[in-house]
Amino acid sequence: MAVERFFQPHASSWMTNDGKNVDIAMSTRIRLARNLNNFKFPYAFTEDEALKVDKEISSVLLDKGNELDYTFSHISIEELAELQKEILVEKHLISPYLINSHHSGSVLLSDNEELSIMVNEEDHLRIQSLQSGFQLQQAYKIANELDSLLEKNLSYAFHEKHGYLTSCPTNVGTGMRASVMLHLPALTMSHQIQRIIPAISRLGMVVRGIYGEGSEALGNVYQISNQLTLGKSEYEILQDLENMTEQIIQQERRAREAIALNSPVVIEDRIYRSLGVLTHSRLLTTEEAATCLSDVRLGIDLKMIQDVDMSILNELMIFMQPAFLQQYADKPLQPKERDFARAKLFRERLNRNGINSEGEDLA
């Protein structure tokens, strides 16, 4: 089965750690929401219509996808095992919403996993383009080309005044959500992030993070994305987001310099302790792993740690999640067992790849 490849713990191309400003901007995503003209939207359509929509869209892509030098695999969500569905979610290739849908849905995945097209999610089409690093223009270019190809062969629901018509009033217009994932440990540590967030909202953008126990985002990872889809062109939206992101990156760099200058030993100690936890612990919770990953990333960026490959850290952020761990352990896991499997995964991946393990036992 050719689609097996997508469930393997190998890195998608957007996790590879290439691209501009990748030390701070980890990945970029563009999503375009589209609907077909002659069908009701997924909140109102029948199963019969859902199947027809799926067939129309996937036949275009399977037929003409090679015009864009992509080869697509069509995967029906219903045909997947539970674990496989969760793995695609953890890889950010599909949304949790799609797997819980009451209708037939599918995903079309490009071989390099940069493009994924969800069919019958909240809209008939959700085109998603993922890139490593800070590459808004490139990610949009790819999504836009695919969109134009589809549009030539399908009839989109489009309105002169409202633009692309979507199920949700927050997406109407361009249907575009552009986002950049940022690692901002220094701005978080120095509490400057609270001052930055209001400035972002004034330009019609939002910040998101996963917040753990305290007020700091889990792993110091934040996602910045546009909120407006009406009134501005795609180009203007991307430009605003790009400018804002560039400013945040500069501020993060300045904050890192200040931290390195003012408290080198304290920071160095924290970074090496975290490296120690990732390479030697026997039980590792998600929170602890995220915190330590953040510290080790910072350590690499500050050139304190030389022998850890950043792309492995990117992979681990994905593979430390429950479904991947279960596949890795090859059996269902209780939460405590997950912490054990997670610790084992980190030891194996990090020690095998260059860290002097000092007699580390991998068993």
């Binding site: 609907n35 003209n37 009701k40 939207f41 909140y43 109102a44 979610v89 950010h92 949304s95 949790p96 919403y97 909240e122 836009n144 969109d147 134009s148 549009e151 009839s155 629901a157 489009f158 309105h159 002169e160 005044k161 409202h162 633009g163 692309y164 018509l165 199920s167 949700c168 009033p169 927050t170 109407v172 217009g173 361009t174 575009m176 609270q194 967030i197 209001p198 972002i200 909202s201 004034r202 019609g204 939002v206 910040v207 998101r208 993070g209 996963i210 917040y211 007020s215 985002a217 996602q223 909120q227 407006l228 889809t229 009406l230 009134g231 501005k232 062109s233 795609e234 180009y235 939206i237």
Partner: protein, 177 residues
């Protein structure tokens, strides 16, 4: 987007909260977010619990938006009523946009910082239609000017041009006048 808590400043943070065992998403401004201690910001999920916002904004459904017309707008194509749209926060089909049109500007304004019109990409197929429509608009304006200037010959010529373009738009010959 306006802050759910103070209803004054624009929201910049999406907060996921545990409320009686349910996960609820709330949109907060930076000040209200800073005051919120059990902060849990949503990540992968699409932005907002739209229906919650809509019901906060329009607590008594269509009555508060359009006090004159009490009858419920219904989409002829998918059967969604305006109150269903408010309840689930989603459209059922593209015709809903026309059926609920009187109330939509107000809603779009709140979600899109005061914007209501699309300014971006136009599908190639619609592009031609839109272009023709704009041309017709322009010709009609010129026609008015010609008539006001009592230049009836020119006005007639422009009228014929409009006829040709309208026919193109309809994909057939149109009966003028």
């Amino acid at each position: 987007m306006i802050c759910d808590q103070c209803g004054e400043r624009s929201a910049s943070v999406i907060v996921k909260q545990q409320q009686q065992g349910q996960i609820v998403e709330v949109n907060l401004c930076h000040i209200c977010a800073a005051e919120n201690h059990s902060i849990n910001i949503a990540f992968e999920q699409d932005p907002l619990a739209i229906h919650q916002l809509l019901s906060n904004w329009f607590p008594n459904s269509q009555a508060s938006i359009n006090p004159v017309r009490k009858e419920v707008a219904t989409c002829p194509s998918c059967g969604f009523t305006f109150s269903k749209f408010l309840r689930i926060g989603k459209f059922g089909c593209s015709s809903c946009y026309d059926a609920f049109s009187p109330q939509l500007n107000e809603i779009f304004k709140r979600f899109h910082n005061g914007n209501t019109e699309h300014n971006g990409k136009i599908p190639a197929s619609y592009g031609t239609t839109l272009k023709i429509k704009k041309e017709i608009e322009e010709l009609r304006k010129q026609m008015q000017i010609s008539i006001q200037g009592e230049n009836f010959e020119e006005a007639a010529r422009l009228r014929d041009e409009v006829k040709v373009l309208s026919a193109k738009l309809e994909g057939g010959i149109q009966d003028g006048s």
